[in-house]
């Protein structure tokens, strides 16, 4: 998912150094579905986990502006252009309030952005795939936002209040994006042969990366148990992946598109779709920085940051001068 890097890196539960009574009271509140607020006591490891999860989510929104932004200047109708600009803008907005949510845990946005630019912080693997045709803008809305919603709706009930509240708004917008993406695909599938082929091509490219967004299989995921105990995470990777597949396959059928998985079948006994094996070597490569666009995405973020430095410095210098002028006037 947007925070799949959590399933990869080193991790600790960290209760040992915290006061046992405080920890016990904290866990009791979490168990009672109380919201933990910024000034409340919390275990260090809970704070660290949240900072990393929220930051990865924020970074994913920011890097996620790039693949779809790639089609803003070429959107094939003015209506689609307006929808796309507004959508990419929403993603930036999500990044902004997620960075704010992370700041309530005591980490400055600049620090988090530096971690993204240095390559130290992770963001979702999905945004390291290219948008080769217009249909990819639709596939991202339909599949990527669709997958994100599966993960994010439970996060609206996350134990940490500021994150949960940010997710309420984000989910509302993401589900709007998902419908817009699907509607874009529907227009293509009801269009010319060439448009339909474009839609199928996009599904072929984005299906498996979307399925992988949920992160490693439960067998290999290190963090699920502790995060579930803290009610940061409510479902396992595989549970969410299954929901996504069950939800999406009928949508593809309605579009008249073929899911690129010859082993995909509906199991009448379980009521679930069973998918074929996932190529985890591809996932590992993308997470380690060797996906098709990892380098370009980071380079684009670094370029924007570097080329914007003089602007940010100007804004800071002007604000400082203004403050001095106001102070002088007050004297």
């Amino acid at each position: 998912m947007y925070t799949q890097g959590l399933d990869q890196a080193g991790y600790d539960t960290g209760y040992a150094q915290d006061d046992a009574a405080l920890a016990q009271r904290f866990q009791a509140r979490v168990d009672a579905e109380d919201k933990i607020e910024p000034k409340d006591w919390m275990p260090d490891a809970y704070r660290r986990t949240l900072v990393r999860q929220i930051a990865q989510h924020a970074h994913s929104e920011i890097v996620g502006m790039l693949p779809e932004g790639n089609w803003i200047t070429r959107a094939p109708s003015l209506r689609r252009k307006a929808i796309l600009i507004a959508k990419v803008q929403d993603e930036g907005g999500h990044g902004a309030y997620l960075y704010s949510a992370a700041e309530t845990l005591g980490v400055a946005r600049e620090t988090l952005v530096d971690q993204l630019l240095s390559g130290a912080a992770k963001y979702s693997s999905i945004f390291n795939y290219p948008t080769l045709t217009w249909a990819d803008a639709g596939a991202i809305g339909w599949l990527v936002d669709g997958a994100a919603i599966m993960n994010q709706i439970p996060l609206c009930r996350c134990s940490y209040g500021p994150y949960a509240r940010a997710m309420v708004r984000i989910c509302r917008e993401e589900s709007f994006h998902q419908r817009q993406g699907y509607e874009l695909m529907l227009a293509l599938c009801r269009g010319t042969e060439a448009q339909k082929n474009m839609a199928q091509g996009a599904l072929n490219r984005w299906w498996w990366p979307a399925v992988m967004m949920f992160g490693p299989s439960d067998r290999d995921s290190k963090h699920t148990t502790q995060s579930q105990r803290w009610k940061i995470k409510r479902f396992t990777n595989d549970e969410l992946r299954q929901k996504f597949v069950d939800f999406t396959v009928p949508q593809a059928e309605f579009l008249g598109l073929t899911i690129p998985d010859p082993e995909l079948r509906f199991d009448a006994d379980t009521g679930h779709y069973e998918h074929g094996p996932i190529d985890w070597s591809e996932f590992d490569a993308v997470v380690k920085g060797n996906g098709p666009c990892n380098r370009e995405r980071l380079a684009a973020r670094r370029t924007a940051h570097e080329e914007g430095r003089w602007v940010r410095e100007a804004a800071a210098a002007h604000a400082a001068k203004q403050a001095l002028r106001r102070a002088a006037e007050a004297r």
Binding site: M65, R74, L78, W134, W310, V311, R312, E313, H318
Partner: protein, 249 residues
């Protein structure tokens, strides 16, 4: 109805807004700060909305079933009636801000006059646009002040941007054929200049920037004679739509 001056005028307004929106759209995801990604996207969306209203009006006046997308995607460069200023490249953030400040200060004066004009539709479009344009003036003026007053580097960059784009300001205030034909319902461009200059002088003074002085006054955009930049902008914008003529999106 062919040869209705409102048709050409509506296209002129729409083209200004669309071409500038297209330029601004290219910033989204690449701005100096996240807040500016959001801000520049807002400006682009406002202008795109204004362009669509004007194209819709042009389509109605023409009455031949053409749509906003026919106007945007299936006209050639010499049919576009936007001013040269709008098609100038983004350059650095300072150039984008200077271009935007010049254009929105002009557009504010224009929309103020149109909103009080005799054509009900233009008045309606202008009144709605004016609310947005006032914000655009404020956004770009605030940035011009920050850049001009900020650091030595930002001051130099802002002055260079203001100077580089200045020659394209003159066309905004010169009557071309499209303006002369519209004299019954639209203000003469020359009449808008004093309001523009008041905004300009106040902002440049606060930004500690000097008034540009340059006698070069390129023109022709409103007659369909553009700079080299527009054909690239259109080639990119129109490429997908033109690869699939007749397709619905």
């Amino acid at each position: 109805m062919a040869n209705d001056p409102r048709f050409d005028y509506a296209l002129h307004l729409a083209d200004n807004a669309l071409v500038l929106a297209q330029r601004l759209g290219a910033w989204v995801g690449h701005a100096p700060e996240l807040e500016e990604d959001l801000g520049l996207a807002n400006l682009a969306l406002d202008l795109l909305g204004q362009a669509r209203l004007c194209y819709a009006y042009a389509a109605e006046i023409e009455g031949r079933g053409r749509t906003e997308d026919d106007f945007a995607y299936f006209r050639d460069e010499d049919e576009f009636r936007n001013c040269l200023l709008c098609e100038q490249p983004n350059g650095d953030f300072g150039h984008t801000i200077a271009r935007h400040f010049y254009f929105s200060a002009y557009q504010q004066a224009l929309y103020t006059a149109l909103a009080a004009g005799p054509d009900a539709r233009f008045a309606e479009i202008a009144a709605q646009g004016l609310r947005e344009t006032r914000y655009h003036v404020r956004y770009s003026a605030n940035w011009l002040v920050r850049l001009g007053d900020g650091t030595a580097e930002s001051h130099a960059r802002a002055q260079a941007a203001v100077d580089t784009l200045w020659p394209y300001v003159h066309e905004l205030f010169e009557s071309a054929a499209v303006d002369r034909a519209a004299s019954a319902f639209a203000p003469a461009p020359e009449s808008l200049r004093s309001a523009f200059e008041r905004t300009l002088e106040a902002t440049l003074a606060e930004a500690t920037l000097r008034m540009p002085s340059d006698d070069w006054q390129p023109r022709g955009g409103k007659d369909g004679r553009h700079s080299e930049h527009l054909s690239y902008l259109l080639a990119e914008m129109q490429s997908l739509a033109r690869a699939h003529p007749g397709a619905r999106w």
